[in-house]
Symmetry: C2
Subunit: 386 residues, 2 copies
């Protein structure tokens, strides 16, 4: 019986994880649930899973939540409460808090969890070295939940085979191209929030869906690939594959490829991260029961200028990724709240990338310092142009 904590239980990934866990009560016991502010959903989850510990980050809504909790449930609240909640021991912690807000609880929890199923990209993008160093020290296993990185994690087993001395020459991450793949560059000015949120293949939270449209999301996955598996950036490529069925491919030195293939359903990588090294069937087997095809085409970096910008930043190995991630979070928030146009996200990135003072990131405090700096700078820029 594995004790599971879910950080971000009311979001898209958190809810899917609970759907998976619900089907296998013999193997998993949810001991902790944590949400930002969605008290209603959290209340229902507590009723169903009866966790010992519950955490709500938004202080103001604690009153509402209390009315929904059994007396014996221990409640943690606010930022300090989240720190304490993250110190509870678990077998598996699913980290599904969105944005850089995940970084602090993740770093604390690495010391208390045996395994972290990591569904958050931003903590790796902004602080990979700190995260992996601490995980190494505490011998905590980190399994990527992001579908492409999880697919690569699966494919890596080939490298670790006892029978072969395989080495990969290249990694290909697939990209659907996002909701705006078929839009011309000119038309992006008039794109509505609803249009951006209609992702062709994946159902995800709003922020990551916007990131998929700009391909900033894919740039973050390139950074994750580099951080998780140690591949140099030159060995990581992106290929457009609009069906989102093939998630990643590895290329051997003879040009042969291995591909990892499954339907675009986050339950697949979530399940893998919970059961690894075992597997568990979550969906009906529909492989090859009908006709279909997979398409691939080279990516146009010109069409996705933010992809190239983030990858340029990645190679600098300074604070630029922290800066760009903060800018991305703020700009997407403005866009989702209809304060700016879609193309203003591009403008904000270009502005901040010119303005930021390059500095090394050595500690978690450096991360938060530059995150705050970039948030303030982006906000004041966006207020001016909006």
């Amino acid at each position: 019986m594995k004790k599971v904590m879910i950080f971000g239980s009311t979001g898209s990934v958190g809810r899917s994880a609970l759907d998976v866990i619900e089907k296998d009560p013999a193997n998993f016991k949810v001991i902790g649930l944590c949400a930002n502010q969605d008290v209603k959903t959290l209340g229902l989850q507590v009723k169903k899973f009866k966790p010992d510990f519950v955490c709500l980050k938004d202080d103001k809504k604690v009153g509402q939540l209390k009315a929904l909790l059994p007396k014996k449930t221990k409640l943690f609240k606010g930022e300090t409460g989240l720190d304490e909640f993250a110190s509870i021991s678990s077998d598996i912690s699913l980290m599904a808090i969105s944005g850089i807000d995940c970084l602090r609880p993740l770093l604390i929890n690495i010391a208390s969890a045996k395994r972290i199923a990591l569904a958050n990209k931003e903590s790796i993008v902004t602080a990979a070295d700190l995260v992996f160093k601490k995980a190494k020290r505490f011998k905590t296993e980190i399994i990527p939940v992001d579908s492409e990185i999880n697919a690569l994690f699966q494919l890596m087993s080939v490298k670790n085979s006892s029978r072969s001395s395989e080495n990969f020459r290249k990694i290909y991450l697939t990209a659907s191209g996002g909701a705006l793949a078929s839009h011309s560059k000119k038309s992006l000015d008039k794109i509505s929030v609803d249009q951006v949120l209609k992702h062709p293949t994946w159902k995800m939270g709003p922020r990551i869906t916007v990131d998929s449209a700009t391909l900033v999301n894919k740039a973050f996955e390139v950074i994750e690939t580099h951080a998780f598996f140690g591949f140099p950036y030159e060995a990581i490529d992106i290929v457009i594959h609009k069906e989102s069925i093939v998630h990643a491919l590895v290329e051997f030195s003879d040009n042969s490829l291995f591909a990892c293939i499954y339907p675009p359903d986050m339950k697949m990588p979530i399940t893998h991260s919970l059961y690894y090294p075992g597997r568990f069937q979550t969906s009906k087997n529909s492989n090859f029961k009908s006709s279909f095809s997979y398409s691939f085409s080279p990516i146009s970096y010109k069409k996705y200028p933010l992809l190239e910008l983030v990858l340029t930043a990645a190679k600098r190995k300074d604070n630029s990724l922290v800066i760009l991630n903060a800018c991305d979070e703020v700009a997407i928030d403005y866009f989702l709240n209809k304060k700016i146009k879609f193309t203003d996200i591009h403008k904000a990135f270009r502005y901040i990338f010119k303005k930021y003072p390059p500095n090394k990131i050595k500690t978690i405090n450096d991360v938060f310092y530059w995150d705050n700096w970039a948030r303030a700078k982006t906000k004041s820029y966006l207020e001016k142009i909006s």
Copy 2:
């Protein structure tokens, strides 16, 4: 420096293997070449690779060959010569003799080679138990060269990974559908030899190209998969994939798939079988440099009656596979010589499958006894209907 012997050096696979070996003289030395009767090609190969041993199976052409050989080259001739030639020690023997004629030299050579790169299907179809038993006794490695089986051999490294406890639930072999995939059942009566030999994706020898049109070839691959990797027949499926780029897929218990992908060029699996566990690049890397798509569709067993017939035979575990293979070799020979129609191949299979007396295969002599029996029976049947 690996000593290499090539059995069937003048055929399609043999020639491709020599093309690969020629590029890497530091790693391979061809010590033996063996052909059936193509003296001209063999002579040129001897001139280029200067093997110590040469074998020609067709006695009548030995005079012609002698004139082309340097004095120090040791020549073996006829069936007895082939037995002696097969007893020579090697690091790698490529078995690329076509049809059941490969079985006897293969069984002899297992005792003298460290590795056998096996490009012959018929020896496995008719005598898998004898072959693998002897290979086990002599600790001889057998690596499949057949593209689909080689792809599976590559994918099997996942099962042997130290990091995971993976088990495959299902194996999918891909099939292009052959040269006649788009022809109606009615039109098959009038199909010419030239039409059958126009394979859409693979350049292969004539016999295997006809086998690809009837999908007997694919049935043989299912049998190879069963024999090489121990998968039950129920766990092996076929899927139509007309581009012949994805060669095989393995399915995990959570419905995820791994695919092995490379262009339809026999040099890829041949190279893999020579260099394993290493790899060597034989072709220009063209992965994802342009747009393309892979299509998949379920197979219609009704459309390929011989596929189902051979698979029914496989499950009987008697002499029926020896019988059907002999019938196939004879009927294809008649068809290629324009003595019978394409659909007469079907008739011959149905006839012999009704007539044969079921018996167990215990020794190599049993194989040859039933092979001869079925050849005579098929010939007399085809003479009658032709």
